[in-house]
Assembly symmetry: C2
Homo-oligomer: 339 residues x 2
């Protein structure tokens, strides 16, 4: 066999393998978070901690199995987020916090870094998995952002799973609202009553790199306990809570949404890479550990580049988070000094 | 008089003058737009054209008189936009287009570049001047973005002027909806009916530089004729339709909102200046004439830096626009080759 024909055979083999989900082009990677905030060791029971870690692992494996089948990054992002949305432990989907009026209003976004397409829903109350509704907006509408009843109507016409609003009732979140209402009571009658952020920003999110080298990001949240007046945070906003571009990175954020909106956090991390020649670690740490800290905005992000490098900086005491790479072993962390 | 005491007197004089609205520190500047789109000479009657130019001039003078009194940039932005919102000619406030269901849903944002604070309202139906509601959100809530009924409730409690929804009914916009409905009819019953952008993106916006050297930006819109499902475009989104930072520039955008959301247009112009060392003209032209053109996104922006340099690039045949600087003479333009 000549050297030339050997090369031909090898390249045909490699084409065949990659077309059928064989060995990688890009180093498939999935990184997730389940919210940042004041999470202290000792304040959580061992049983609860085990439970959190188990859901994060399930989410990682759900997304990873799709990536290793050669499926696109958006599939992995959606699958991982659905697992966390279906758990009562995270402030998204089933475990969403309550608004001031005792309702649950959910927001979600997804963005595909290979097409720069994006979809978002905000203030939806009857969609079981808002991340899937966001994806449907991205793929089947010509719009990016749909909100309220209109978003619910569109999701319904597209066959997204609809639930009774009571699906989102959980005792733990209900008690959190009652506590927030009692704390806010002294300020009632003096005009505006601010929402009571419970120092836990239980948004969930995922970023993924698929075998074809494409990036995607998604985020889903129930917002802020005791929120009023149709408040929307950074989660459903492209460039604030979520961003993905194959030119730089995929980002999903969690934190005090107003700061993430004003400082366009997700896009700024990507822009520092694109225009400022930073790496994913340097860029995300600059925004989370400097810009946001200077501004007084608590929270964190997960960020992933096209080589599979990722960073998970946060300026709070903890962030539920996890990652899985080519070896297929899920790794999860909660507190600051742990890794 | 010694040289030193002369300097002291001069500096005291300059302080006094600047504190009482005297000669400038920064070169006060106000730039506005009334929407970009397919605007061709000959398709507009001379009377109509005169009318448009008159409103733009009134808006410029309203904002400029505040700037020359030493008032902050946000005041000038709000005042200029209110003039355009109160005119039936622009797609914002009084002249807002109709949604698919025959309602008017308005969005607006404002951002203060000196504090990086921002406020936005989306899908409001009873607020006469959405830009003023956005400002109230910025100044009197701890939130950035309020939407729908909640935003209306908050605006009402804060004394913002409320009108009956019929205030926004204008014959011209109603006819535009009927036309769009007829055009969309053949696609009815085949699932999703896309909105019908009439190739005029009649958003209004303003950017200002005040004597203290601070920047602000604001944008207000009625959205897209025949829009459905609670669609929200770029206008109420920080970093997409509106952005201001004293570190770089103030930007207000007009165009096919979905592209401006996906490409975080307003923030990208500022980020190119901050991280990529571009000037305001180069940065805004790169985004509008290259990124958006490559993506197929029609529209334009106004952008202003802290030295009073501004740019007004658009990739459509026209953009209603105007500027006023230290000489106090308002200048307005509509078509491409005109200046």
């Amino acid at each position: 066999m000549t050297r030339r024909s050997l090369l031909l055979v090898l390249s045909l083999l490699s084409f065949t393998l990659s077309a059928f989900g064989g060995p990688p082009g890009a180093p498939i990677t999935l990184v997730i978070h389940g919210g940042a905030g004041t999470i202290n060791r000792g304040e959580m029971s061992p049983a609860m901690e085990t439970e959190y870690r188990a859901v994060l692992e399930r989410a990682l494996l759900a997304g990873y199995s799709l990536l290793s089948d050669g499926r696109p990054a958006v599939d992995a992002v959606e699958a991982a987020i659905r697992v966390m949305e279906d758990s009562p432990h995270f402030n998204a989907g089933k475990g969403a916090v309550f608004t001031h009026s005792g309702t649950n209003e959910l927001d979600a976004t997804i963005m595909d870094g290979s097409t720069m397409k994006a979809g978002a829903v905000a203030v939806v109350t009857i969609v079981r998995n808002p991340i899937s509704a966001a994806r449907i907006v991205m793929e089947r509408s010509e719009h990016v952002m749909l909100i309220g009843r209109g978003a619910e109507l569109f999701a319904t016409t597209q066959g997204v799973e609809i639930v009774d609003p009571s699906y989102f009732w959980t005792e733990r979140r209900w008690r959190q609202l009652q506590k927030a209402l009692v704390e806010a009571a002294p300020r009632l009658g003096r005009g505006y009553v601010p929402a009571s952020p419970d120092r836990k920003f239980g948004t969930v999110g995922a970023v993924a790199l698929d075998r074809q080298g494409h990036l995607a990001a998604g985020t889903s949240t129930g917002g802020m306990t005791n929120k009023q007046f149709g408040r929307v945070g950074d989660t459903p906003v492209i460039g604030a809570g979520t961003y993905a571009s194959d030119r730089s990175c995929a980002v999903s954020a969690t934190g005090h949404g107003e700061y993430f909106l004003r400082y366009t956090v997700a896009r700024d991390i990507a822009a520092l890479m694109e225009f400022g020649d930073m790496g994913v670690k340097e860029a995300s740490e600059k925004v989370v550990l400097r810009t946001l800290v200077d501004a007084g905005g608590p929270g964190g992000v997960i960020a992933l580049d096209r080589k599979g490098n990722y960073a998970m900086p946060f300026n709070t005491t903890g962030m539920y988070r996890g990652a899985i790479g080519r070896d297929g072993v899920p790794r999860v962390w909660i507190y600051e000094r742990e890794k």
